[in-house]
C-alpha cells in the first residue's frame, strides 16, 4: 500500500506538495505545528500512488513516501 507522510517538524505549509499531487489527496491540517504553520497532511492514503511528486517538490524535505 503506497503511503505518503509529512513530518510536521519540518513542514512550513507552503502548499507546493498540494499543488504537485496528481491525486489531490493532500491538504493543510487543522492543527498547527510548533512553528505555527498549518502543515500538509494526506487525507486519503488509500488513493496514494507513490508517484513521489510531493517529495520531489517539497522544499523542506519533510515528506517520506513508502510503497
Amino acid at each position: 500500500m503506497p503511503k505518503m507522510t509529512v513530518d510536521p517538524y519540518y513542514c512550513k505549509g507552503c502548499g507546493l506538495c498540494i499543488k504537485a499531487c496528481p491525486k489531490k489527496i493532500i491538504r493543510f491540517s487543522e492543527e498547527i505545528n510548533a512553528k505555527g504553520y498549518h502543515y500538509a497532511e494526506c487525507f486519503d492514503q488509500d488513493s496514494c500512488i507513490a508517484c513521489k511528486l510531493c517529495y520531489v517538490t517539497c522544499p523542506d524535505v519533510a515528506i517520506t513516501v513508502e510503497k
Partner: protein, 252 residues
C-alpha cells in the same frame, strides 16, 4: 512496505531556516541525495556563502566551512588544494556569486579548480530584504530599484552560466530550473553529474538553479513559480553550456 523517498542521509536533522516555499531546500536535497548516491558523504566538504543560505553549514552532514561574502570559491580552492582527495563544493546565491564574488568565481572557474559550484539564482537579494541583485530582471521592482531595474542605467542582469562558459577550463556548466516537479527531476540528473565529475576529478563544474523568492517578490509560493517561468526563463535560458564529457575522451 518499503520507503522509496525520504530525507537523504547527507542532510542533518535540522529544519531549514528558509521561508515557506523557498526552493533553496530543493537544491539542498538534490545535492544531498547525489552525495548519498555517489557515496561521497564521508569525503565531501562544502562551503556556505553569505546570504539566505548562510546556514547551509548546519544543514549538510559533511564538513562545512562558512565563507566571507563572495569568497566561497577562494575558500573552496584552499580546501581542495589542502585535501585533494576530497570533493569540495560551494553553495552560493546571486549576490554572493555574481556581485561581490565575481572575481573569485571567474578565477576559480578559469583555473579549472576541481570543485562544484551550486549557484542559486532568484533575481533578488533575499536575506537583506529584497534589494536588487546582479540577476534582477530589467524592469523588475525591488527595494533598491523601486521604479524597476533600468538596464540603461545599471546594466542588464548577469548571465553567470554564459559568462563562465566563455572560459576554456570549466568542465561542466548547466542551468536548471526548480520550478516544477518535472524540472526538479531533470535538475537532479545535472546535480548528480556535476558531483560525479567532481568525484572523478574532471575539473570545474557549475550548476545554476533558477529559483524563487516568494517572500521578497511578494508572491505566494505556487504563483511565484509561475512568475519565474514567465519572466526569468525568458532571460535565463535553461540548458547545458558546457559538457566536456561529450567532447573530451575520458574526461579531463
Amino acid at each position: 512496505m518499503q520507503v522509496i523517498a525520504q530525507r537523504p542521509k547527507s542532510l542533518r536533522d535540522i529544519p531549514f531556516t528558509y521561508c515557506p516555499g523557498c526552493l533553496h531546500g530543493v537544491a539542498h536535497r538534490l545535492i544531498a541525495e547525489s552525495m548519498d548516491e555517489l557515496d561521497i558523504r564521508n569525503k565531501t566538504m562544502g562551503v556556505a556563502p553569505v546570504g539566505c543560505s548562510v546556514f547551509a553549514y548546519k544543514f549538510f552532514d559533511c564538513d562545512m566551512a562558512q565563507a566571507a561574502h563572495g569568497r566561497a570559491p577562494a575558500v573552496a580552492t584552499g580546501m581542495k588544494r589542502s585535501r585533494p582527495d576530497m570533493c569540495v563544493f560551494t553553495y552560493q546565491g546571486d549576490g554572493d556569486l555574481a556581485a561581490i564574488g565575481t572575481a573569485e568565481i571567474v578565477h576559480a572557474a578559469n583555473r579549472g579548480e576541481n570543485i562544484t559550484v551550486f549557484f542559486v539564482n532568484n533575481a533578488i537579494y533575499g536575506m537583506t530584504g529584497g534589494q536588487m541583485a546582479p540577476t534582477t530582471l530589467p524592469g523588475m521592482k525591488t527595494s533598491t530599484s523601486p521604479y524597476g531595474r533600468d538596464a540603461d542605467d545599471i546594466g542588464y542582469p548577469i548571465k553567470a552560466s554564459e559568462l563562465l562558459a566563455t572560459l576554456e577550463a570549466p568542465y561542466y556548466i548547466e542551468r536548471v530550473s526548480l520550478l516544477s516537479p518535472q524540472e526538479i527531476l531533470k535538475a537532479k540528473k545535472c546535480v548528480h553529474s556535476a558531483l560525479k565529475y567532481n568525484k572523478e576529478k574532471r575539473g570545474f563544474t557549475f550548476i545554476e538553479f533558477i529559483s524563487t523568492c516568494p517572500t521578497n517578490w511578494g508572491i505566494e509560493p505556487i504563483k511565484s513559480r509561475d512568475w519565474a517561468r514567465e519572466n526569468m526563463l525568458k532571460f535565463f535560458e535553461i540548458g547545458c553550456f558546457r559538457d566536456k564529457s561529450k567532447t573530451v575522451e575520458g574526461g579531463k
